[in-house]
Amino acid sequence: MYRKQVRRRRAVLVLLVIVSVVALTSTFGGAAGGPFGTVRDGIATALGPFEEGASRALKPARDLVNWFHETFQARGENAQLKDEVRSLAVKKTKYEQAVGENKNLRKLLGIDHSGPMSGYKPVTARIIGRSPTVWYSTVTVDVGGGDGVRVNDPVVTGDGVVGRVTATTHGTAEVTLITDHTSAVSAKVLPNGPFGVVEPEAGDPSTLLLDFINSGKRIHRGAIVITAGWSNGSISSAYPYGLRIGRVTQTTASGQQAAERVQLRAFADLRGMDYVQVMTNGPHRPGLGGR
């Protein structure tokens, strides 16, 4: 009797492990085909309304817990921000001058005023699910293929770029954030600094690194980094040129290391955001799947 129980227990364990491994193999790397992909999409579609309901119902509780957390954090940041305000006041004057000049020059050249997102149709989406591990920086949004959302559509907030769509069902979509370890964004340091690739440090979603810097130019703390919109004719970045990514927070002395290590902080509040905009129906970008 006892042996029979042990055999049954082992059989269940082996069966579950085999099914898990087969599921992993068939859906690894974002592959959505096959029976497991269909099952996953079906479950995601069925769970979508429940996730949305739970997300709405639990928002006050989330906000309450986060309010305590943010209050403690805000006290520490207060002094630092006061210093920043002083230095920013000087920069603001220069910025206003530059904006005025820019307007005049755009008028002269006849450039489109709507910025990097011209040609896209924005779809506002609510975040209804979030990955619980630091290994996947992904969120689920309440718009999907039925709303015109396609794989590789860029996703932004008012502060800057958030990520791109990596999977869709009819009513939901998975957005892989720029802090996910599979993410890499071609980037440019402003005003006319070098180009590089922004990628995260796996396991630490609060830090972004600017890698593969193609120039010996020194990058200074506080410099702004935007998307480069890289394309070589046959393949392209999913992100158009000019989306704000983040600000340089730390650079290491290049004398100590072979390459300069540049750390960024994303402009978009990737942990606290509730709504995002998915930029759909954008201009054709060669080499991107899903369009």
Binding site: S20, L24, T133, E201, A202
Partner: protein, 209 residues
């Protein structure tokens, strides 16, 4: 645990609500740089209450639900969760709890093991970017948060499944015919220390007489 149809429905509801709470509430919170993870806490609790098969099946189903809801690669969460569900169940089948703090501590430890297995699987599947040492802090903090969550979750799950629990029916069930449960290793060690202390005292008194 005696799994009747009613209990199976309760188990399914527990897992469904757990996954919803995880992706809609707990994933938005951050303590000491880590996100509290409810799913391994519930799976380990189910394993401790229901045994190895219940723990493994619950872990597998919870993992599939989480990965499907977030449109992630299927199977990674399932493998890690079924491992800790099975471990929790095997522990329950082999040892009895000496005090009420033991289950939350075991659940916290298994949450830490879950985070470590998950990290190992991710690294084995390939990570193209540098891996931060912050991941070690995340694993430890997840274990601590798991212990705190288990203080509330384990009694709650036990309460929901009370009709099916053999231990709560007022008797201790033997693990197999003719054999009682073994004591936890630290209890055995303490017991043997006591015995050896008593022997030493006896020997001393014997020398003195």
């Amino acid at each position: 645990m005696i799994v009747t149809r009613g209990i199976a429905i309760r188990l399914a509801l527990i897992l469904f609500v757990t996954v919803l709470l995880q992706i809609s509430f707990f994933s938005y919170l951050s303590f000491f740089g880590s996100i509290p993870d409810l799913t391994p806490v519930v799976v380990a609790s189910l394993g401790l209450l229901g045994g190895a098969v219940v723990g493994a099946v619950a872990g597998f189903c919870a993992g599939m639900l989480v990965d499907s809801a977030l449109l992630q690669t299927l199977g990674v969460s399932s493998l890690a969760l079924l491992a800790i569900g099975y471990m929790a169940g095997r522990y329950r089948e082999g040892y009895e709890f000496s005090n009420s703090l033991a289950p939350p501590l075991i659940v916290g430890g298994l949450t830490l093991v879950y985070a470590a297995i998950f990290a190992a699987l991710q690294i084995m599947l390939g990570v193209s970017t540098p891996v931060s040492l912050v991941i070690l802090r995340d694993i430890v903090v997840k274990g601590l948060l798991g212990t705190l969550l288990a203080l509330a979750i384990y009694p709650l799950v036990r309460r929901i499944l009370r009709p099916a629990l053999i231990d709560d029916a007022g008797r201790r069930a033997p693990i197999r015919a003719g054999a009682g449960r073994r004591r936890a290793p630290w209890r055995r060690a303490r017991g043997s220390a006591r015995r050896s202390g008593a022997l030493a005292a006896g020997a001393r008194s014997g020398r003195g007489s």
